[in-house]
């Protein structure tokens, strides 16, 4: 007897219906990303990092391709912390999406040039 139960339920089906033939796992990506922008707290950034890790893990478990830019974004966050693991994830982005090579190269260079950030 629900009248218009469309919005909330439909959000859940978002990935399923717009484009049936593609499978990505995005977890809570947009929400945690929004929080980092809105709150800008270390906690929200940490949450967003966790959500990226979860996307990578879950995609692997399910045999999906990690969505475009996720490895790169994670690498970017790691490199901002000076974490050497960043390189590995930049490389994974290029491996998964060769078309990202020029972009990733640009970001890497930028990071090298400004080690403070």
């Amino acid at each position: 007897m629900k009248i218009i139960p469309f919005l909330l339920t439909s959000v859940l089906f978002l990935s399923g219906c717009t484009t049936p033939p593609l499978k990505y796992y995005y977890g809570k990506y947009s929400t945690t990303l929004y929080r980092t922008k809105k709150d800008g707290t270390p906690g929200s950034l940490e949450n967003h990092k966790n959500s990226l890790v979860k996307i990578i893990q879950t995609s692997k478990e399910r045999g999906y391709r990690v969505p475009p830019g996720i490895y790169c974004e994670y690498a970017y966050l790691l490199s901002n912390e000076g974490n050497p693991e960043a390189e590995k994830y930049f490389a994974l982005e290029i491996e998964t999406y060769p078309e990202s090579e020029r972009f990733v190269g640009f970001i890497r260079n930028q990071i090298k040039q400004s080690p403070s950030k």
């Binding site: 007897m1 629900k2 009248i3 218009i4 139960p5 469309f6 919005l7 909330l8 339920t9 439909s10 959000v11 089906f13 978002l14 990935s15 399923g16 219906c17 717009t18 484009t19 049936p20 033939p21 593609l22 499978k23 990505y24 995005y26 990506y29 947009s30 929400t31 990303l33 929004y34 980092t36 922008k37 809105k38 391709r65 969505p67 475009p68 830019g69 996720i70 790169c72 974004e73 970017y76 999406y97 078309e99 990202s100 090579e101 020029r102 972009f103 640009f106 970001i107 930028q110």
Partner: protein, 437 residues
């Protein structure tokens, strides 16, 4: 016998309504030929432009873009990084780049195209008991190679923030809805709505490399619409409740989404001959989102609510041959040189019924039909116009009619007699849809 009478009556009345108001549809290829010529694949998303007073809108909106773009098969550079990148280059406002040559984006980042988005409206309004979020966005995809606009749309989304609750008791419902409205708007988390909106609007974009139907969706049909830019939200609502007037240009587009699969095992009885009824089957546990694109029910699914900006005169060619399930229609109703332009539509989704409908003035049109749903089995197809439910002709207020089909879909052994008009044939079909728990 009754049914035949009904069909006749419905056919007559429907034809009257139908006359000047065929839903204007075009193919993706006709609408966005440059997309098929250049085949952009890597997208650099610029920070949204915002001409609303809601400072938040920009932040909300940018987080909603990458996901639906990726699902359309594009490689999307991470928006968080591209946003910072623009700042580090001193580009604080996307407006600065709007008319600039974009070749640097290709040179530096390997981007095929740049996505400009412009938030025109981001308003919350309270009407009766429901709260609505109205979002109007214009978007443009510009080539970094030719600087041409490859694709653009403008659309308005009205999200119902009132949540969901229905007990069957109207009074309790009103109170419950009021309470829920308060809660939801206080929480003010619009990300899902922004995302929904974007997903809906991006349905008009031709698929890119990572989409299985990349390059094959040129004949997918989309609504040919003029953006409803300047309409206030009150008018948006009016269009769904005003007295019937088939010539009235409706306003407002609601983004919402049909459930890919209905929860229940659905079954339709087919009292009269339906064209190639798809018998319901158990849902495929392995690949729930992976329906074959050729299925009559799924093929038009990606055509959903499309808001595009091209003027009628800009249509270059008449609709070309469309895919098999649509061809009979396109034959009987070739695209007119000057189709009526629908300013926008309002899409309502009922998960349970498996239908996504568009309200044009006071008519209900099907945007999509979930595969394997009772409706699909009965032969309902995207682009059909609903004429009556349980012999009650659809006119006047639309919501009571929608409620009727949802109630049927939600109740055990629910059933409803539904009549609809297939585009181009002027033939009304009637079926009884039965849902089984």
């Amino acid at each position: 016998m009754n049914r035949i009478n009904l069909a006749l009556i419905a056919a007559i009345s429907a034809t009257l309504l139908f006359g000047g108001c065929a839903i204007p549809m075009v193919t993706k290829r006709d609408q966005f030929p440059l997309m098929y010529e250049e085949r952009p694949h890597t997208i650099f998303v610029l920070p949204p432009m915002n001409s609303t007073t809601a400072a938040d809108a920009k932040e909300y909106y940018s987080t909603a873009i990458p996901q639906p773009l990726a699902y359309a098969g594009f490689y999307v550079f991470p928006v968080e990084i591209t946003g910072n990148l623009m700042k580090s280059q001193g580009m604080y406002d996307t407006e600065m780049i709007l008319e600039q040559p974009l070749n640097k984006f290709s040179e530096y980042f390997g981007a095929d195209a740049v996505l400009f988005t412009h938030i025109k409206k981001w308003d919350k309004s309270y009407l009766v008991l429901a709260a609505n979020l109205t979002v109007t966005v214009e978007a443009k995809l510009k080539s970094t190679k030719s600087n041409r606009i490859l694709w653009e749309y403008s659309g308005t989304i009205v999200a119902d923030l009132s949540g969901q609750s229905s007990t069957g008791n109207p009074l309790v419902d009103l109170i419950a809805r009021a309470v829920i409205t308060g809660i939801n708007t206080a929480a003010a988390d619009y990300v899902p709505y922004a995302q929904l909106a974007t997903a809906q609007l991006l349905q008009s974009v031709p698929f890119a490399k990572y989409h299985r139907r990349s390059g094959e969706d040129g004949s997918d049909r989309i609504f040919h619409q003029r953006p409803a830019k300047e309409k206030p939200p009150s008018e948006l609502l009016k269009s769904t409740t005003a007295a019937p007037n088939s010539n009235e240009k409706p306003a407002g587009a609601v983004a919402a989404k049909a459930a890919q699969e209905p929860d229940k095992s659905l079954k339709a009885t087919l009292p009269s001959a339906a064209p190639e009824p798809q018998l319901p089957s158990q849902r495929g546990p392995k690949e729930p989102v992976d329906q074959p694109a050729q299925s009559p029910a799924t093929a038009p699914q990606s055509d959903g609510g499309i808001i595009s900006k091209t003027e009628p005169s800009e249509i270059r060619r008449p609709a070309e041959k469309v895919s098999a399930p649509l061809s009979p229609r396109s034959k009987s109703e070739p695209l007119r040189p000057n189709p009526p332009v629908v300013e926008s539509t309002k899409a309502i989704v009922s998960k349970e019924s498996g239908l996504k409908v568009y309200l044009l003035s006071n008519e209900i049109w099907l945007g999509s039909v979930a595969p394997k749903s009772a409706a699909a089995a009965a032969g309902l197809r995207a682009g059909d116009k609903l004429v009556s439910f349980d012999k009650a002709q659809i006119s006047g207020e639309i919501f009571p009619h929608l409620k009727r089909i949802n109630s049927a879909a939600n109740s055990p052994q629910g059933q409803i007699e539904i009549s609809w008009l297939t585009i181009g044939s002027n033939q009304v079909k009637t079926q009884i849809l039965i849902w089984e728990q």
